[in-house]
Amino acid sequence: MKSTTTKEAKAKSISYAKWGYIFILPFFLVYAVFTFYPQILTIYYSFFKYFRDGLTWIGPEFIGFDNYKALLTPTAEGTIDILKYFGNTVIMWVMGAVPQFVIALALAVFFTSTRLNIKGQSIMKTVIYMPNLIMASAFSMLFFTLFSTVGPINSLFVSMGIIDKAFDFFFCTISMRTLVALLNFLMWFGNTTILLMAGIQSIDESLFESARLDGASGLRVFFNITMPLLKPIFIYTFITSMIGGLQMFDVPNILSNRTGQPNRTSETMVMYLNNYLGVSKNFGMAGAISVVLFILTAVLSVIVFKTIDRDKD
C-alpha cells in the first residue's frame, strides 16, 4: 500500500482539492458581487435616510430604526400600509392557490388512476402547463385588453345579456382581485398538477393494488394512502407557492397600472417595494421593506427544508 509506483495509485495520491476551489470560484465570486453584497447593502441602508428628491440626493444619514417605525406608522387614513399590502398579497394568493391546489390534486389523481385510464394525457398536460411559461406581464396586458370596458369580454357579456352596460373590472376590488387570482391560477395549476402527479407516481403501486383488492373505495384510497404518502411533496409544493405568492408583482402591477387600484386594494408587498425603488430611489424605505420580505421568505424556507429533511428519514 505504501509504495505507490503504479500510475493509478499516483493519480489518487495527488490532491485535486485546488480544482474544487477553482471550479466553484466563478459562482461564488459572482454571487458575492451581484447578490450577497447588494443584500448586505440593502439591509445596511434600511437604517439610513437616503432617497432622491428631484435631482438632489438626501442622505445617507443614519437614523436607526426610523424606516421600520415609518413602515408601522398608520397613515392619515388610519391604515398601516405594509399590513394592508401584506393582507392584499395574502388574499390574492389564497384566492388563486386554493383552486390551484384543489384542482391540481384532483387532476393528478385522475391522471394517475389506472381505473379511470384517461386518454390523451400528454396533450392535456402540454395545454395546462403552457400558461406557466407565458410572460406574466404580457399575459396581464392581454387580460387587461380583453376585460377592459371596450374589450371583447364586456361586449360578449352585454350581448349575452349578463350585464346591461360595460363593467369596469379594474375599478372594483372583488373583480380586480379575482382577475389577479385567475391569472395566477391559470399560470400555476398545470405546474402543480405535474409536480403532484410525479409525487403520486412515486408511491408504491402495490399499495393501491392491495387496497383495491380489499375493496376500498376511491375516496378511501385517496385519504388513507395517496394523501398521507403525498404529504411531503404536497407541503413542499404548497410552501414554494407561498414564497412565490409573496413575490407577486407582475400581474397586479400591470392590471392596476402600478396604482394598486381600486383604492390600493390590489397593491402587493413587492409593488410597495417597487414604488420606493422606482422614481424616488428611496433606498432607506425600500431596504426596510426588503428586510421584512427577507424574514418572511426565510421563515417559509426553513419550513421547506424541514419537510425535505423529514422526507429523507
Binding site: E8, A11, Y16, Y21, I22, F23, P26, F27, F28, V30, Y31, T35, Y37, P38, Q39, I40, T42, Y45, A106, F110, L116, V127, I128, Y129, L133, I134, M135, S137, A138, F139, M141, L142, F143, T145, L146, P152, I153, S159, L186, F189, I194, L195, M197, A198, G199, I233, Y236, D250, N253, I254, N257, V270, L277, K281, F283, A286, G287, S290, F294, S301
Partner: protein, 286 residues
C-alpha cells in the same frame, strides 16, 4: 352479482365522463385567452370595436407591419435586447451551474460541505430582496441601461446548481473522472469534453427554463432599463398599459402581446415533452 357489476360499470362511466368534462373545460380555459389573442391580432382597430368574435379578421400582416414600425415602441429592438439578455443568461447560467455542481460533486476540499450548504440555504431567497442594493450599486457605477448588468449575475444561480448537482449524483459515476485522469486528460478538459456531453439533457432543460425566465423577467429590468433603445420586451409591454389607451390602435396592441409571447410558445410546442419532464426532475425527489 351481475347487476352489481353493471352498477359499478355505470358509475365508472359517469365518473369518467365527469373527469373528461373537467379536463376539457380546463384546457379550453387555458387556450381561450390565447385563441382570443390570435384572433384579435388579425383584426383592425375598427373590426375590434365591433365586439367579440372568434373569426379572424384577415389583417394579421397589416397589424404586424404596424407593430414592427411603431414610432414609440420599438418592438424589434426590444426582442433583440431580450434575445441577447435571455440567450447569454441561459448559456452562462447552465455552464457555470454545471461547472460549480461538478466542482462540488467530484472534488474533495475543506470548504466543500460549507459551499454546498450555503448554496442550498440561499436557494429560496428571491432576487427582489436584494434589488435595493443592486439598484444602488448600478446607479452609483452608471450601470443602469447596460444589458450586461442583467446577464452576468446569472452565473450564480443556486436553483440551477441544485438541479445540476442532483443530475450528476444520479447519472455520473466518479470512475469516469479517474479514467480520464489516467488517460492524461486535464481537469478542465475532462469537464468540457467528457462531463458536459454527459450532462447534455440536464443542460438543455435548464437552458430552456432559464431562457424563458429571463425572457419574461420584468421587475429589475423595469427599474434599470429606462432608455428606449435598451428596454426589453416585458418593459415595453408594461409601457402599453400606462400609455393613453384611447389613442391606441388595438390591433397593434394585440400584435405586440403576441410578439412578446410567440417565441416561447413556438419553442414550447417543439420541445413540450422534454420541458414537462424537466418540471418534475427539478423538484426535491429528483
Amino acid at each position: 352479482m351481475n347487476s352489481k357489476n353493471k352498477a359499478a360499470a355505470v358509475k365508472l362511466l359517469i365518473l369518467r365522463i365527469f373527469v373528461y368534462a373537467v379536463i376539457i373545460f380546463l384546457c379550453a380555459l387555458c387556450l381561450f385567452f390565447f385563441i382570443m389573442l390570435f384572433v384579435n391580432s388579425s383584426r383592425t382597430n375598427s373590426q375590434l370595436q365591433r365586439g367579440f368574435t372568434l373569426i379572424p379578421g384577415g389583417h394579421f400582416f397589416y397589424n404586424l407591419n404596424n407593430a414592427v414600425h411603431d414610432s414609440s415602441i420599438n418592438i424589434p429592438r426590444g426582442m433583440l435586447n431580450s434575445l441577447i439578455v435571455a440567450g447569454l443568461s441561459s448559456a452562462l447560467t447552465t455552464y457555470f451551474s454545471a461547472l460549480t455542481a461538478y466542482g462540488i460533486y467530484v472534488y474533495n476540499f475543506k470548504l466543500k460541505k460549507l459551499a454546498y450548504t450555503f448554496i442550498i440555504a440561499v436557494m429560496m431567497i428571491p432576487s427582489q430582496v436584494s434589488a435595493a442594493g443592486f439598484v444602488k450599486i448600478a446607479l452609483e457605477l452608471d450601470l443602469d441601461n447596460k444589458l450586461w448588468v442583467l446577464i452576468i449575475p446569472s452565473i450564480a444561480a443556486p436553483a440551477v446548481f441544485f438541479y445540476m448537482h442532483q443530475y450528476l449524483k444520479a447519472t455520473m459515476p466518479l470512475e469516469i473522472v479517474e479514467a480520464a485522469r489516467i488517460d492524461g486528460s486535464g481537469e478542465f478538459a475532462t469537464f468540457n469534453r467528457i462531463v458536459l456531453p454527459i450532462m447534455k439533457p440536464a443542460i438543455a432543460v435548464q437552458m430552456i427554463f432559464s431562457f424563458v425566465a429571463s425572457w419574461n423577467n420584468y421587475f429589475l429590468p423595469a427599474i434599470l432599463l429606462t432608455k428606449p433603445g435598451k428596454k426589453t420586451v416585458p418593459v415595453m409591454i408594461a409601457q402599453l398599459r400606462s400609455a393613453d389607451y384611447s389613442k391606441f390602435d388595438m390591433g397593434k396592441v394585440y400584435m405586440f402581446i403576441l410578439l412578446a409571447i410567440l417565441p416561447v410558445i413556438v419553442v414550447y410546442f417543439i420541445l413540450s415533452k422534454s420541458i414537462i419532464k424537466g418540471v418534475t426532475s427539478g423538484s426535491v425527489k429528483g
